[in-house]
């Protein structure tokens, strides 16, 4: 599924809904098909004006009744300023991933950054009116901050942080796991700027019995039921209090793009990216493990003890994913390169290891029979991915695969085969490989 599907998408996304979502009946399903113009004008304009990213700023200057191009044809590639080579997995909610060769930049630009949404992108965001509330059982004093108060009241920090979807690589599991079928492109490492979550939590006051923080955000549940949150996850206090855990208002030096959480995002690098709540408006300091949406069941949880492929795992035997495992990607060249015998092939890519650092990088051109080490750079900061490169020699003509394998600071390496099966297909950190032909 890639951009070929866009024509199809065009049709699906503007067709009004023939049946009803609960609690949604009155507003949407009563539109007849021919009401489309009206529908587009009233609701799509409202939602997509917000989706147009930079256009929000000039929204006031648009003539009333003017429907911008983006709303008439919600092409997600244009809407979210994504490269057309990105792969669209889902259009409701929006989910889009990169391909390995698109992730070649050391700092991931927006156009190559994967989108993982659980609900609907919030509409009509007013950054000047936006607030963040710190509450919960274990807050000393409930406090609310405007964005301006956050920006000016606390020191600002910038870190490059690796965000990888917990389900990155899900498409390879057997038996297949339910959910968006990510291949390898649900990972990014952008530069995030904001204030430390720790500073803000301490300003409100952290009770002695604090265990966890849970985030709440402005995105809407797919059923449009206002009493439901699409996702409300969080992290233990130890992670919340790390230097690198940010309340970010900038990505790569600019306002965060709408699809990535404008105007405020929690960012906790090295953990499943679902920990990094977008469109953040509230953080609860909890006296127990946060119990928001997608904290329980099989969501972002794996069997505490390993299971056989396909096993049914009772809920109480599932444990929350914390640090992501060691992994790497060959981002150059793109798979499928042909070159003449005698020519060296320069390869490069990134490696990351959740809370840990990558200590060793190797590649193999003989399906893992022999491995050669190659240099891997230190990370720009803790929790940033690291870059590796190598010059590869091929002994004779033929078909090759270049496999890459990273080892973390605990001596744990990527497996060549799929790692342990789990019901939702998380944590696939099997070695990445590219095909090469020597002619």
């Amino acid at each position: 599924m890639d951009r070929k599907d866009k024509s199809n998408l065009k049709v699906t996304s503007v067709t009004p809904f023939p049946l009803k979502c609960p609690n949604f009946t009155e507003t949407i399903s009563s539109y007849s098909v021919m009401d489309r113009r009206k529908f587009v004008k009233n609701s799509v304009w409202a939602s997509f004006a917000g989706l147009m990213g930079t256009d929000i700023v000039y929204g006031n200057y648009l003539r009333e009744g003017y429907v911008p191009l983006g709303a008439q044809d919600p092409d997600p590639f244009q809407l979210f300023h994504k490269d057309p080579e990105m792969v669209l997995l889902n259009d409701k909610p929006w989910n889009m991933e990169a391909r390995a060769h698109l992730l070649d930049d050391k700092i991931t630009p927006n156009k190559y950054m994967f989108i993982r949404n659980n609900g609907l992108v919030p509409e009509n965001i007013e950054a000047s009116q936006w607030t963040l509330t710190i509450d919960g059982e274990s807050v000393r004093e409930q406090k609310t901050y405007s964005l301006e108060e956050l920006r000016t009241g606390f020191p600002t920090h910038t870190y490059q942080l690796t965000l990888e979807c917990g389900g990155n690589g899900r498409s390879e599991f057997d038996p297949p796991a339910k959910g968006n079928q990510w291949s390898i492109g649900a990972v990014s490492c952008a530069q995030w700027t904001g204030v430390r979550l720790r500073d803000v939590l301490e300003d409100a006051g952290i009770g002695d019995d604090a265990v966890y923080i849970g985030y709440h955000a402005a995105d809407m549940h797919l059923s449009r039921d206002p009493s439901k949150e699409p996702i409300s996850r969080g992290m233990p206090m130890a992670k919340a209090l790390q230097d690198e855990t940010l309340l970010a208002f900038q990505m790569n030096g600019k306002a965060i793009p709408l699809a990535h959480g404008f105007p405020l995002r929690l960012v906790g690098g090295g953990w499943p990216a679902s920990v990094s709540g977008k469109w953040l408006n509230r953080i609860s300091i909890r006296n127990k493990v946060h119990d928001g949406a997608k904290m329980g069941g099989s969501s972002y949880r794996v069997p505490c003890e390993t299971v056989a492929p396909g096993d049914i795992v009772p809920e109480e035997n599932m444990c929350i994913i914390e640090s992501m495992p060691v992994k790497s990607l060959i981002t150059y060249p793109k798979s499928g390169a042909m070159l003449p015998l005698g020519k060296k092939l320069g390869i490069r890519g990134h490696a990351w290891a959740g809370e840990l650092e990558v200590k060793k990088m190797e590649y193999s051109i003989d399906f893992g029979s022999t491995w050669s080490s190659c240099p891997v750079e230190k990370p720009a900061n803790r929790l940033a991915w690291q870059h590796f490169s190598a010059k590869v020699d091929f002994p004779k003509k033929g078909y090759y695969e270049v496999w890459a394998r990273a080892t973390d600071s605990n001596g744990v390496a990527q497996p060549m085969l799929l790692p342990g099966w789990n019901p939702k297909g998380y944590l696939n950190n099997a070695c990445h490989r590219i095909a090469v032909k020597i002619t």
């Binding site: 599924m1 599907d5 199809n8 049709v11 699906t12 067709t15 809904f17 023939p18 049946l19 009803k20 979502c21 609960p22 609690n23 009946t25 009155e26 399903s29 009563s30 539109y31 007849s32 098909v33 021919m34 009401d35 669209l88 997995l89 889902n90 259009d91 409701k92 909610p93 390879e172 599991f173 057997d174 038996p175 297949p176 339910k178 959910g179 968006n180 079928q181 549940h221 797919l222 059923s223 039921d225 949406a293 069941g297 060249p333 793109k334 798979s335 499928g336 390169a337 042909m338 070159l339 092939l345 695969e401 060549m416 085969l417 799929l418 099997a430 490989r433 590219i434 095909a435 032909k437």
Partner: protein
């Protein structure tokens, strides 16, 4: 001169009358269009709060339901109507599950995502899903899919 003035007075009267009538007509037509426009030019909304889609909205070509991308098969429309209201059909076409897991997915949506009771449609839908989107064996690692070969230039 007198004759002229009388003529002018009369015509002015007619002009005024015409202006008023025309303005009224314009105002009236705008009002009617606004109030009745929906029912005059647009399809009437069905009793249950939704209408059937236009004929080509459910067109099927080469075994694919064009609007959603779902495969043609028994239970297609039940699946389209119940499963693509809240989420994209892409969430279905991406997935491969056996009966037990498709049912478990429906239960999960009913428990947490506001999915309604599917009644007798449930069996039709599950049959459709298992028939058209069953799991295939992938093994512990699949072969690389045939890449697009290209000459690597420096």
């Amino acid at each position: 001169m007198d004759e002229h003035r009388t003529f002018w007075k009369r015509t002015r009267g007619i002009y005024r009358f015409l202006i008023v009538v025309c303005s009224l007509a314009v105002v009236l037509s705008i009002v009617v269009f606004y109030v009745k426009g929906d029912t005059l030019t647009w399809e009437k909304v069905g009793e249950k709060g939704y209408t059937a889609l236009p004929e080509d909205g459910d067109r099927i070509e080469n075994g694919t339901h064009l609007r959603t991308g779902l495969k043609e098969g028994e239970g297609l429309m039940e699946t389209v109507n119940n499963c693509t209201t809240c989420h994209s059909a892409k969430l279905i076409t991406q997935n491969r599950m056996d009966r037990e897991r498709w049912v478990a997915t429906i239960r999960w949506m009913q428990k947490t995502q506001n999915l309604w009771d599917l009644g007798e449609n449930e069996e039709i839908i599950v049959n459709y899903l298992v028939t058209n989107y069953p799991p295939g064996r992938k093994g512990r690692r699949e072969a690389l899919t045939e890449p697009e070969w290209y000459k690597l230039e420096d």
